[in-house]
Amino acid sequence: MRRSPEPVFWSLFSAGGVVLALIAPALILATGFLVPAERVEFDRLSAILTQPLARIAVVGLAFLTFVHAAHRLRHTLVDVGLRAYGGPIATVSYLAALALTAWAALVAFG
């Protein structure tokens, strides 16, 4: 049977979609409004982010978000008219997502 590799990308995209749907508004609320309003203390934040589990979570979240975005960007570009370049677009999108994830790992464990 000729198998499409799409289930891999799609499942990661979906996982990212679920996580973002559940927490993205809350995160933006916190980091975009509560942090500038100085309702979040540095010590507390630092304590959380230096925990090993939190570091892994940050990388995981970044990975899912970037793959989710890459997947959507790729398909939207194809849909709006770049169908002929579908292959290269996919490669570049997912590679960019991986590169950004690598950067996220540096940040999270930095």
């Binding site: 749907a21 559940l22 508004p25 933006i28 975009g32 960007l73 709006v80």
Partner: protein
């Protein structure tokens, strides 16, 4: 023999109907969230860099531009959440015997979960 008129394709299809514009906005919301992820990582980076770096970062975040950016980000995040929850019962239709579990119920359950997650996140960060 006279031939049929070939099917027409439009390069601008995505702006020709509101339904399609909505679709493109929905897809873009995913990309916008990636941009937010970059901002979030910069924040994390500042935390790891120490108190002073964090304070500087907070100053940046207080600028009107950054506030405006976050307002837009929240709107896209909500768009993502709403459209995503709407799609959930499509892919995973649940049944109890003959009857379909009403999609509204499944969507509602998702919102409850989201509200829970929000409370936990905010509570964890704000003492």
């Amino acid at each position: 023999m006279a031939s049929p008129y070939p099917r027409r394709r439009s390069r601008r299809w995505f702006i020709e109907r509101w339904a399609y514009q909505r679709f493109v906005l929905r897809e873009l919301s995913g990309v916008v969230l990636a941009a937010y992820m970059v901002l979030l990582l910069l924040l994390v980076s500042s935390v790891h860099a120490g108190g002073q770096a964090f304070a500087d970062h907070v100053t940046t975040l207080r600028s009107p531009l950054m506030i405006a950016v976050h307002v837009i980000l929240v709107l896209f995040a909500l768009l993502h959440t709403v459209t995503w929850f709407q799609a959930v019962p499509k892919g995973l239709p649940l049944r109890r015997g003959e009857e379909k579990v009403p999609p509204a119920l499944m969507i509602g359950a998702n919102y409850v979960a989201m509200a829970g997650a929000t409370v936990i996140i905010v509570a964890a960060l704000v003492a």
